[in-house]
């Protein structure tokens, strides 16, 4: 898998206790309320225990011939009323505390993970399926939520009553008490064994669910292609395998689990015939009242334990979710130190090496200097590492070896905010957020005034078309909002870069053609953006390359030539070759 995941040791399965601990830890500031929910549930089950106690007291009393007086009836009725009220009260408090805190736990954790995500190097996101991360934040979180609202309190409820009953029996007849406990003790290894197995399958299954999710997102995003190639009719759906696999592992999981789970229940309940048999054998030595007590309490002891089965599934599902969350939470952040201040805006690479994965080398020993306010164009065949050079400057990844400096300060030591103030980047793929055009431009500068936004839009040749829209700057854009043409979107992204007003501009020159009118406007807008700034551009346009102060020619991760246009042409090397290629391509026409 990816380099990021290799680095992190996240266990693939855990024992129940470990999962409980991990979940407890994640409850964070809400531990108190979660604990209160569990405690109230325990008290509720104790209150139910009280009513069973009264029942045993009355039935054994009657069996032993005690007279049924009005006072006794009122006494018992009073205790029963007390038990009922107690159950209602604690039941309410428990459900309230557990449910409401579970929503908050999930909310907090979601925010914590979202926060964490932005501190991870961009590389982390590019080596994972996006659907995977989304699943962690949605489905996985729901699992955890239901664990806190339902699973955890049920554990406390399942344990409260049986323990109380066992203690009561122990005072009456220790042999019978031990007999009731025997089946539980025998069943426990089955329980934990099953639970571990469920854990392993659970995580596999959720991985597959995430896979199915990723395939589905792809399916929808590629719908145009699917339609154009009539894929569905051909029964070759890309997602088919993902949902088939998901179904199969779901069924496999059930097959491997129903048997041990039924076995656990069976073993626990086999305590009933055992206790009956033991009581029968000890009839001569024990009081009738004790025998009746044992029989009456038998099911109240086992029933809650059986409900643990349902909880186990919830715990395991939650645990699988936890492990997947931990893959994100335990990924190393981009190291963040802010104690270097650059003097000037000269960008310099000093023997920089880099690879996206361990062992892979994308850049070898790259050294060059871009003087302040000068323009450097990077050219080279595809895959030669041009865009990678750009990506290292704003620390989308950290260089593997060597140093990248801005104004003499290592970029790794400038700090996120400091670096962001220095550098702006114009991407090939324009990304607009859902929101208004104004919001999208304002991204460039926190608290920008209306006038500043408009000035930036004007400089980016965008003001005119924005004003022509019925809702002007309030027009909604973003995913789903296909209201703008590619060229218009590009100009909005330039406007936000202009608004940001950073001294260093990194640019991946757009290659996708846009209509001529837009293209002309964009060229003008870009010229405005880069005026007087340090500019590094992965260049495609002949005119751009020609006007650069310095051209770096990259091939297979190395700088093979360096200089200005005319001088490089005369070298008759790779550059001259690329140039003639492009000049020829610029003349091509499509004539059928």
């Amino acid at each position: 898998m990816s380099m990021v995941e290799d680095r992190v040791a996240v266990p693939e399965s855990r024992s129940d206790m470990e999962s409980l601990k991990r979940a407890w830890h994640l409850a964070g500031p809400l531990k108190g309320r979660v604990a209160r929910g569990v405690l109230f549930r325990f008290l509720q089950s104790m209150m139910l225990g009280l009513s069973f106690g009264v029942m045993v007291w009355v039935v054994t009393g009657l069996a032993e011939g005690r007279a049924l007086t009005a006072a006794w009836i009122w006494q018992s009725a009073g205790l029963m009323a007390l038990s009922l009220l107690g159950q209602i009260l604690f039941g309410y408090l428990s459900v309230r505390a557990s449910w409401l805190s579970s929503y908050e736990v999930a909310g907090h954790l979601r925010l914590r993970i979202l926060e964490k995500l932005r501190h991870l190097p961009l590389g982390f996101h590019q080596t994972r399926h996006r659907g995977d991360t989304v699943t962690v934040l949605t489905s996985d979180m729901q699992m955890l939520e239901s664990f806190f609202s339902d699973g955890l309190p049920r554990i406390s409820q399942a344990l409260g009553l049986p323990v109380a009953i066992f203690l009561v029996l122990l005072t009456r007849d220790w042999v019978v008490a031990l007999a009731t406990a025997t089946s539980v003790l025998v069943a426990l290894p089955v329980f934990f064994g099953t639970s571990r197995q469920l854990s392993k399958l659970g995580i596999q299954r959720q991985d597959m669910q995430a896979e199915a999710g990723a395939r589905m997102i792809e399916f929808v995003q590629g719908m145009g292609v699917i339609r154009a190639f009539n894929q569905v009719a051909q029964g070759q759906e890309s997602f088919r395998k993902a949902i088939d696999d998901f179904r199969d592992i779901s069924i496999r999981m059930v097959a491997q689990l129903t048997l041990p789970m039924a076995l656990f229940g069976m073993i626990v309940m086999l305590g009933a015939p055992l206790v009956i048999w033991v009581v029968g054998g000890r009839l001569n030595t024990m009081e009738t009242g004790t025998a009746i007590t044992a029989l009456l309490l038998l099911f109240s002891m086992y029933a809650p334990l059986l409900s643990l089965l349902g909880v186990m599934e919830a715990v395991r599902m939650a645990d699988a979710s936890l492990i997947r969350m931990d893959r994100i939470l335990s990924a190393p952040d981009l190291p963040e130190v802010a104690d270097a201040a650059p003097s000037g805006f000269e960008v310099s690479f000093d023997r920089v090496g880099f690879g996206y994965r361990p062992g892979e080398v994308v850049l070898h020993d790259i050294s060059f200097t871009v003087p302040e306010r000068s323009m450097t164009a990077i050219v080279g065949p595809s895959g030669s590492g041009k865009s990678t050079i750009l990506n290292l400057i704003p620390r989308f990844w950290d260089a593997g070896s060597g140093r990248i400096t801005i104004g003499g300060a290592d970029v790794a030591w400038i700090g996120e905010a400091g670096l962001s103030n220095l550098v702006t980047m114009v991407f090939q793929d324009v990304y607009l957020f859902s929101g208004t055009i104004r919001d999208n431009i304002a991204v460039g500068k926190a608290g920008a005034t209306e006038a500043e936004i408009e000035a930036a839009a004007r400089a980016a040749q965008a003001h005119d078309f924005i004003s022509r829209l019925p809702r002007g700057y309030d027009t909604q854009v973003g995913e789903g909002g296909d209201a703008l043409s590619g060229g218009e979107r590009q100009r909005i992204s330039i406007a936000r870069a202009i608004l940001k007003d950073a001294p260093i501009v990194l640019m991946d020159e757009a290659t996708a053609a846009i209509d001529p009118t837009n293209e002309r406007a964009i060229q003008t807008a870009l010229a405005r953006l880069v005026e007087g700034r340090t500019l590094i551009v992965v260049a495609h346009k002949l005119s751009t390359i020609q006007s650069a102060d310095q051209i770096l020619v990259l091939d297979e991760g190395r700088i093979v030539e360096q200089g200005v246009h005319q001088a490089l042409l005369e070298e008759r090397g790779l550059y001259a070759q690329l140039w003639s290629h492009r000049a020829k391509a610029a003349e091509w026409t499509l004539d059928g």
């Binding site: 069973f52 006794w72 009836i73 039941g91 309410y92 459900v95 932005r118 949605t138 199915a212 999710g213 997102i217 929808v220 719908m223 145009g224 339609r227 070759q236 998901f246 129903t258 039924a262 229940g265 069976m266 009933a272 015939p273 009956i276 048999w277 009839l283 009746i292 029989l295 009456l296 099911f299 029933a303 323009m375 080279g380 989308f396 996120e416 990304y431 991204v443 926190a446 995913e479 789903g480 909002g481 590619g486 218009e488 936000r496 940001k500 996708a512 053609a513 001529p516 837009n518 293209e519 060229q523 003008t524 010229a527 405005r528 880069v530 005026e531 346009k541 005119s543 006007s547 059928g592």
Partner: protein, 606 residues
């Protein structure tokens, strides 16, 4: 791209206000082909299991009576112990089997639903997707059907058996002593009344809850998609803001629903197991009045106390019912959305001339193509040009019926494309998009999209023609190289050549290139150009182009402006006319000349 600010309107996900509580059953009836018999069997087995569960309780009651009567003996206990033993073993076997079957049924149903939905989506007009975030669609197909598991795998067998047992026990209780029976069950209707009222309160909010969930999903997808921009503008605060707001809103709605549900829901949960508190005092009173003996009391204490167990199982089901029904309602809505018409006919076409006749089309209620007519000659190159928003791409997308025209018609070889079966139309038309979309999977799999079951030799031939063979074989795994997120990274030009190879493999007589001459990768520009020339050979070619020099030689240039036909003709004539095309040509040549630095830039910026 075609312009319509109305697209946003449909972006608001249409969530039904209230769930249809029978939606899940309807889905089961319609899509549960393989699941139904399994479920019936499972319910029968579960009922048997629950009846067997009652046997040990009955045994305990008989033994308590024996103890009271003084007839108890070790032998009696031993034989009853044997009965209990047999019942426990048999009961759990049946239950295990029942649950196994119901789960298999559930996963099959869910699988069938996902498949049906995905297939259905592919038949919906593209407009349906325009306003949706892809995260939302994933939720619809992956997450929502999953909710049915609880209902089908647990709810149906356990619910049916719970209700069956509950009825049987109730009758038994009434047969023994109706007054005590009343005492035993009196809390149940109260509890259920409370539960129904709690559900009523929350179901009013389920629509909002669903919408908040979808919004959160979408916001998270977007947050991740925009991560690079977020980082460069150090705007994590704000963009996190939208996602964070969505997360908080979702938590707030959950909390509000919880608050509405908890008072009554918690009371249900308590009351449904608390009937012993009523049984005992009532029993004592009746005994004192002399109308009930200790045996009778013991019976109700033992059976009555456990009477509520099956009802508790129902609780878990009800607790989820609103969400499950909402999920089912959403699924039903998607499956019920009108698909594109398909005659399924195969028609003999005399030629491959594409003709637009008075075509009108738009998104939502907003018309973007106004009365456009032109002919793309058989075997000729026809170029669609115009400023952005003029409707070029929209027009092109109408040919493979990514959308259907509102008025007028488009004919292929003289036949309305809507009369040609979709299967045939897709064989006739190949569409190459500007944004090359490759699926996760191998290169070979992606190429075979063009022709299912293409042989190795065919793949190689197509790849060669598309000038892609050389770079594919240079990859470590060649044609079996995995693509996609986490897979091999191809350059834009390489991806584009794969898309062209895919189209070549398809070998359709009509080719629509949607800005495909806009090269994602200038370094392979020449190779892509050769590939396109190869693809276009002897075919009817309709090309949306921005790089005007590429279509200088086209047989016909159709110039569009704001959805209307502005002019048509050949390059030289149009430039000479001095109209819109001439203006575009002037812009185009100017754009090529502006450099980022230097005098021209400064002039242009004035």
């Amino acid at each position: 791209m075609a312009v319509s600010e109305n697209v946003e309107r449909s972006a608001a996900s249409e969530v039904p206000e209230r769930p249809d509580f029978f939606a899940s059953l309807k889905l089961l009836m319609r899509y549960g082909e393989g699941a139904k018999p399994l479920l019936v069997l499972s319910a029968l087995l579960a009922t048997g299991a629950v009846v067997l569960e009652l046997v040990p309780i009955w045994v305990v009651w008989r033994l308590v009576i024996a103890l009271i009567d003084g007839t108890a003996s070790a032998g009696l206990f031993a034989s009853y112990a044997l009965i209990a033993l047999a019942a426990v073993i048999a009961g759990y076997l049946l239950m295990g089997l029942a649950l196994g079957l119901s789960h298999v049924a559930a996963f099959r149903l869910i699988h069938a639903l996902r498949l049906a939905m995905a297939r259905h989506l592919a038949r919906l007009p593209m407009g349906w997707f325009a306003g949706r975030r892809s995260g939302g669609a994933k939720k619809l197909i992956v997450d929502e059907p999953e909710r049915l598991e609880i209902l089908v795998a647990h709810g149906l067998p356990e619910g049916v058996s719970a209700i069956g047992t509950w009825l049987a026990v109730t009758i038994w209780l009434f047969a023994v002593d109706w007054r005590m029976a009343l005492a035993a069950i009196v809390l149940a209707p109260v509890a259920f009344g409370l539960m129904l009222s709690a559900m009523g309160r929350t179901s009013r909010m389920v629509g909002q809850y669903q919408a908040a969930g979808e919004r959160m999903n979408g916001a998270i997808v977007e947050y991740l998609a925009g991560m690079a921009v977020i980082k460069i503008f150090n705007r994590s605060g704000e963009s996190l803001g939208e996602a964070a707001t969505a997360v908080r809103d979702y938590a707030a709605i959950e909390t509000e629903m919880g608050r509405q549900f908890v008072p009554r829901g918690a009371l249900f949960y308590t009351l449904v197991v608390a009937n012993i508190c009523v049984i005992l005092p009532v029993g004592m009173l009746l005994m004192r009045s002399g109308t009930l003996n200790l045996t009778g009391l013991a019976f109700f204490v033992i059976l009555g106390a456990n009477y509520s167990q099956p009802l508790l199982k129902l609780f878990n089901l009800f607790h989820n019912m609103a969400h499950i029904s909402m999920a089912s309602t959403l699924i039903e809505d998607v499956l019920g959305t009108q698909t594109q018409t398909d005659t399924g006919k195969r028609i003999e076409l005399p030629n491959r001339e594409v003709k637009f006749e008075n075509v009108r089309f738009g998104y939502d209620a907003h018309e973007v193509i106004h009365d456009v007519s032109f002919t793309a000659g058989d075997g000729a190159v026809t170029a669609l040009v115009g400023p952005s928003g003029s409707g070029k791409s929209t027009l092109a997308s109408l040919i493979p019926r990514l959308h259907d025209v509102w008025e007028g018609r488009i004919t292929l070889g003289g036949t309305d494309i809507r009369d040609i079966g979709i299967d045939q139309l897709m064989e006739e038309v190949a569409f190459v998009f500007q944004d090359t979309f490759l699926f996760s999977g191998t290169i070979a799999e992606n190429l075979r999209l063009g022709k299912a079951g293409a042989t190795e030799a065919e793949l190689h031939a197509a790849a060669r023609a598309a000038r892609a063979h050389a770079f594919i074989t240079a990859l470590p795994d060649g044609y079996e190289t995995k693509l996609g997120e986490g897979g091999a990274a191809l350059s834009g030009g390489e991806r584009q050549r794969l898309a062209i190879a895919r189209a070549i493999l398809k070998n359709a007589p009509v080719i629509v290139l949607d800005e495909a001459t806009a090269f994602a990768d200038p370094d392979s520009e020449a190779a892509i150009q050769e590939a396109l020339s190869e693809l276009a050979r002897d075919r009817t070619l309709i090309v949306v182009a921005h790089r005007l020099h590429t279509i200088m030689g086209a047989d016909r240039i159709v110039v569009l402006d704001q959805g209307r036909l502005a002019e048509t003709g050949r390059h030289g004539d149009l430039v000479a006319q001095g109209g819109l095309y001439a203006r575009l040509w002037a812009d185009y040549t100017a754009a090529q000349a502006i450099s980022l630095r230097g005098n021209q830039a400064a002039e242009a910026a004035q």
